[in-house]
Symmetry: C2
Subunit: 255 residues, 2 copies
């Protein structure tokens, strides 16, 4: 038995607009390329297109920065309106230095700029538009899973992914913001290793590993393909969504 | 053109012993399973077997804990000898709380226990053995790459991977400790996105993404398969090794 996992970018996803039904765009692209979903398929979707479909846009020129936002903008060198949006999506500011604003997002993710993106958002001439994270990425993943089931008859896993920086390593990797139908976290506490010793590594961030691998074929910018099919390997561990991946505040050693 | 990346665990790698030539074990397993390396293959190898081949073992009963190690052992609840080994491999202690000891490894990685592993190490009865990280994982990767080239005539990429915790997320993911023949970090600073705006995400930790994906089929414990072949997707970015993934100390906001 070969242990294999493959990632394939799904061609033919158009520019996503507010109100689009993502599952319909994906089913259409699958049909157009004669690709079938399998029971072990995990559909990995870039946060960006989920947010766009959910209409999570904000016009920068409609944002009125607070005093706190202006102060953080001065420190970081960022646009005060973007900082205001970031604060509105956050519960805490962890670090603010030139070029860097790291916050705890209202959903618990510790990340730069609350995941707000200005790139790849087509705005009107002379106006800038920001794109916020989905309201509830686990819920978005579950809804997409339901839609794909209705559209294809197949029950698959879904992961909503986004790129994150890391405190001690250069470069971004993708992690899972939301998921449905997969064990986002696999807990093997108590399992023995091959010499009978209890395993030291006991929890594996499965959804993050899938998101990271998928990002390689997903790409970014003008060559980006925002939907990737992961197939060939679905663990038997119990389904838990991405809330399981968030370390509780009281266990945070690096506030 | 389909954009695809696949990970396949290589069966038939035996328990690795000090002094083993890893490239010979891998070539033997490839031959036994009629698997050919391709120019776009990246051979992902678990740190554990690199360390074993390099003989990076330490007997716990030969370690004399310092006062500092005893104090940290008291705080963390860890074995003082293991803490002493950890300190001997580290330049700095970032956090020590019950159950957790996070250090800066002498090579710059911020990680728990300096990557020292007690599991899956067959020791003599009644004696415990620890396994330290390789002396220089980039160098280990380069040596393995040379050995595989000599043994197969193929020039591939090599990544030495290990599992890391994250400060704000539960569960481990694998990252790249060392690499050869791959762009460990892809720097796209200045590239435009599809709307002509400069990309906000400018550096991608390619080797970490490959390590993370490979870990899914690598597994751990009694079903672990420590060599995984990643194939189908090799970026055209310039080769840099894993030192490029380490954020410089002066840019560390979370000491």
């Amino acid at each position: 038995m070969r242990r294999r996992l493959s990632f394939e970018a799904l061609p033919g996803i158009p520019e996503v607009r507010s109100g689009d039904a993502l599952h319909e765009l994906i089913v259409h692209a699958l049909d157009a390329h004669a690709i079938a979903l399998e029971p072990d398929t995990i559909v990995v979707v870039a946060q960006k297109i989920v947010s766009k479909a959910e209409g999570r846009f904000a016009w920068l020129d409609e944002v009125r920065p607070s005093d706190k936002a202006r102060e953080l903008a001065r420190i970081t060198g960022k646009d005060a309106r973007l900082v205001e949006l970031t604060l509105s999506e956050s519960t805490d500011v962890l670090r603010a230095v030139p070029g860097v604003l790291i916050v705890r997002h209202r959903l618990g993710y510790v990340m730069a700029n609350a995941g707000i993106d200005l790139s790849n958002v087509p705005g009107e001439v002379g106006r800038e538009r920001a794109l916020l994270l989905p309201l509830d990425p686990d819920k978005s993943a579950a809804a997409l899973r339901d839609g794909l089931r209705a559209g294809t008859g197949k029950t698959v896993g879904v992961i909503v992914s986004d790129s994150f920086g890391r405190p001690w390593r250069n470069g971004v990797v993708n992690v899972a913001l939301g998921s449905a139908g997969v064990p986002a976290l696999i807990d093997r506490r108590g399992d023995p290793d091959r010499h009978g010793r209890t395993l030291q590594i006991t929890q594996t961030a499965f959804a993050d590993a899938i998101a990271a691998g998928a990002a390689v074929v997903m790409g970014e910018g003008s060559e980006g393909m925002p939907v990737v099919l992961a197939s060939g390997f679905m663990p038997t561990a119990p389904e838990v969504d991405c809330r399981a991946l968030l370390r509780p505040l009281e266990a945070d050693l690096f506030r």
